[in-house]
Amino acid sequence: MTRIAVTGDDAVALAAKAVNPDVVAAYPITPQTIIVERFADFVADGEVDTEFVTVESEHSAMSACVGASSAGARVFTSTASAGLMLMYEIVFIAASSRTPIVMALANRAISGPINIHGEMTDQMLLRDSGWISLFCEDNQEAHDQTIMAFKIGEHPDVLLPVAVGLDGFILSHAIEGIIPVSRDKAQMFLEGERKADLKLDTTKPLSIGLLHLQDYYMEARAQIKDAQVDAKRIILEVFDEWEKLTGRKYKPIESYMMEDAEYAFITMGSSAGNARTTVDELRARGEKVGLIKIRIYRPFWGEKIVELCKNLKGLISIERAHSFGGPGAILSQDIKSCLYGSGVSPLLAEYTIGLGGRDTLIGDYHRMYERAKAAFTEGKNLPISWMGVRE
């Protein structure tokens, strides 16, 4: 199949075009801008049937999305960084209203100091919102996962919004070759229009977004908790269907060279590409090292991570995010939590890298490995440290 040259943002816009959502409400922000611009082109050129709502802010964008999704529409939006921050109030309402909005995030650092470059903290903060949260290693994944996100979120056993993250600039503005999915294929995969049980229907009036106080609030939240659990089953089904449709295999947690690995990197997004390159170089030197790539951050597949860690001496967690004053960074807290009490306890090195677009080179990955291995050899963990910070 012929690959076409597109940026990560274009890959997402083309995915949205194939999906042909009923409603898109979005506001441009670097490095997501291309997604919104391209999609506006598709609307203007009559290539999609979408009602494009040109809102005045991200708070309004997410509000319009919740309204449209509540009415039964298939809805897409996209933002980054400060845009997501402005949405936050409604982001939580989107989850509790059980509106399966799909939102692409061109992951970018949060101000301040003001910065437009890549970092994942923006999307990591969705952690406790009820959203399903996916990350992409390359533009093909950004394209594929944007389409799959609709099928995952809209499943009646899930009904949760889904965020699809692609690293700002390093994917969003980078040209790579992708095999695009056609409108026909996407529609076949999604089985036509969204089928919402609860929607705007004058013959079946209902209320959405009502007050829940001490009497019902916990039950409403508990349903999100249960839906996150059920989502794991649905995600596996959707990945299977995607493989049948495209031949491209997806797993929530991917592993590389893990069979005989004594040490492993664990990371997300485009960092996995650099870690994979480093694994190849270390393997060529005889190092028994592998890679665990987390594709789906929420729901968190802790049991799979535990399984992959069974024979490891040491695990090296690398993430483009941080938690000030926290017991580790963000992902590394999750990793520690799922290992606790599992009976599997590799030594752990925790690194925060690449904040605000700071480049982390393959040589840096080698240094992180060597430093971690030295600690592991002495039987020690390596507490959280920030790679590449000048002192």
Binding site: A174, G177, N274
Partner: protein, 190 residues
């Protein structure tokens, strides 16, 4: 095994189409079924400010996603950068440097050549070519013919770069840009 990757770093100024140059290299290479990763080193857009863009090209799939610090090839689209930006930074032993200049004997060009006797230097007056063929001094396509010539079509061919230009531009400007590519291919001096 390590994948054979050609790392190209492009230097220019905001507004000269440096990003488009890197994209065109990737788009052309992809037409030859190669694997690519090309992106600009962005700041907030500033017209005239020194910027860089990167293009990685390989026959086989690769996964590295960093900026380029040890280029095989450096392309300098604006001669006024010489002496201001260390365009040779990290250039691999025996690497290729293509400089857009109207004066191959200028102090800047002579000095940079002296500083790396191992490297291969070539110059082309892409600004003049662009002005004459396209009507604007936008050197992003006019520099690429030189690249094809100097690399013996091993990274991208004239045919694929022309196809990439036709896919990216409307018919009329595409023709002009293709003429610029042809002239740059023929007029580059090694």
């Amino acid at each position: 095994m390590a994948t054979e990757i050609i790392d190209i770093r492009l230097h220019g100024r905001g507004g000269q189409g440096v990003m488009t140059s890197s994209y065109l290299i990737a788009e052309a290479a992809l037409l030859e079924d190669k694997y690519v990763h090309a992106f600009p080193s962005f700041g907030p857009e500033r017209s005239g400010a020194p910027i860089a863009a990167f293009a990685r090209v390989s026959e086989s799939r690769f996964y590295v996603k960093t900026e380029i610090y040890k280029p095989d090839i450096v392309i300098v689209q604006d001669p006024t950068l010489l002496g201001q930006v260390d365009v040779l930074s990290g250039l691999k032993e025996g690497g290729l440097v293509i400089i857009n200049t109207d004066d191959p004997n200028s102090e800047g060009v002579v000095n940079i050549k002296k500083s790396r006797s191992d490297a291969q230097f070539a110059t082309v007056d892409a600004t003049k070519i662009a002005a004459e063929e396209i009507g604007i001094k936008q050197t992003n396509t006019a520099i690429l013919g030189a690249l094809v010539n100097l690399t013996n079509s091993s990274i991208i061919t004239l045919d694929s770069i022309k196809k990439a230009i036709m896919a990216r531009f409307r018919e009329e400007p595409a023709k002009k840009n293709i003429n610029a590519v042809d002239r740059s291919f023929n007029e580059v001096s090694k």
